[in-house]
Symmetry: C2
Subunit: 277 residues, 2 copies
């Protein structure tokens, strides 16, 4: 969990999510390292949008809620991020981000709430789900998998995927527990949580035991730890717990929790995704 | 469950969520019947935004994902809704809605995904949670409660709130089961689901046994039934199941499920809310 963290400048995740201001917009770059089925892995797109917001000089507070709607496939090369501060008060800010590429077609659209979090009564009804430790859990072999998968290290505690054989005869469980960290260990911050929130394999792959056409339509992540909390955790992987409640008429949900090894719920995440079977 | 449904024109929920097009915008009206602590009940604001989208001549498909960010208190009187079709393809549409009142200050901001849902393999791992039926469950007495609460009929199966006495000595459960319908029975459709999704009492009220300053910051609802599915259900109440995982540094989460009596998951909903204790 506390592996040596690379120098930030050379970290592949930091490189893939880099943004530079230009004429009132921010420029990001699609990374070949994070390719998925069609276009880049949505989690790295989301993380890049969040990073632009975090880097904006007017941003105040920590990310609290972050919703990304994926509107159309993103191509290769650079993309523009148009950031807008919708509303701000003393303790919170509402932002939107539009991602375009070459013309005005919006390919992804995000809204974010930032908040100055003050210490209050804290209560976390549930603790870390039962799990062997990160160190005790074998690394999932991702050789041959899509490039984005190889940028993470998955250690499945439950529902290790087995793709390539016959699909399941009957639906398997949609519930998964998996330790997830970056391939090159990197300290968990809000930007990496935004990416890891989308790193669960599609629930339908687990349930059916086969890869089918799939795409996330909308994803929301709530952050339950601020920058100080995350710095105090000082970890490079989280325990991800994911589940789904329904697959119906081309769409399925997914709920997810990202836990620190110390038993703190760092983020919860929800998405709805298209599938074709 | 199948009580007589009032004529649409006279229904108080339809009246409160009415929208009229005017100069390329839509006009809504804050209803005194749905007052909450500060401004109108967020669920009726959300429902009005969704109804404007549904009424828009360019809208195609059923609501799939709907996120509302509440930016500032909404006053009394009319409000403007500015609808924008961000992106459309053959099977889905992405929209945004801005709510303003009198000036350009955005008071609420929503994004929505609509989809044409095609019949596919369906799978719902979980069924209706254990519950007595709607008819068997006593009606919650809402006399003296905030106006918006009296627009609904709550029938608590579990965690019936008891406000007004001493707060709990130790945190109580955040888990609630409650049948929720409109006071004047009205057939459940996507617009009423958008409102009911925000009708759970704040988790912190249940956990602490007291009313504290509270406000939803961002709420996302996923719809798992299209208009045909909802018409087939033909019901006027849903079983709501809500829970929370964490209360920390001024913010708490809430997850919710809205079930039909027949055991279909109609919608799932998530929010993050401010609290002060």
């Amino acid at each position: 969990m506390h592996a040596k963290v690379q120098d930030g400048a050379a970290d592949p995740f930091d490189f893939a999510t880099r943004v530079t201001p230009e004429n009132g917009r921010w420029i990001g770059h699609v990374s070949d390292d994070y390719r998925a089925f069609v276009g880049p892995f949505g989690g790295v797109t989301a993380a890049t949008m969040l990073r632009a917001l975090l880097d904006h000089p007017e941003r105040a507070g920590d990310p609290l809620a972050f919703t990304v709607n994926f509107c159309a496939p993103i191509g290769t090369g650079p993309f523009d991020l148009d950031l807008r501060l919708i509303k701000a008060n003393r303790s919170s800010q509402h932002w939107s981000v539009e991602l375009t590429q070459g013309n005005d077609d919006v390919l992804a659209f995000a809204t974010a709430v930032f908040a100055l979090r003050r210490s209050t009564w804290s209560h976390q009804p549930a603790g870390l789900p039962d799990t062997p430790s990160y160190e005790q859990t074998p690394v999932f072999g991702s050789a041959g998998a899509a490039p984005w998968i190889r940028q993470f290290e998955f250690r499945f505690v439950e529902s290790t995927p087995k793709f390539g054989g016959a699909p399941h005869d009957a639906p398997a469980s949609a519930h998964t527990k998996v330790w997830i960290g970056n391939r090159v260990p990197r300290k968990i911050d809000a930007v990496s949580l935004a990416a890891i929130a989308d790193a669960f394999f599609a629930r339908i792959f687990h349930v059916r035991g086969e890869i089918v056409p799939f795409g996330t339509m909308s994803m929301t992540t709530y952050f339950h730890a601020d920058a100080a909390d995350l710095a105090a955790e000082d970890s490079t992987a989280v325990l991800g717990v994911a589940d789904a409640k329904i697959f119906h008429k081309s769409y399925a949900d997914q709920t997810g929790e990202l836990w620190s090894a110390g038993g703190r719920l760092l983020a919860s995440t929800h998405q709805i995704a298209y599938f074709k079977v």
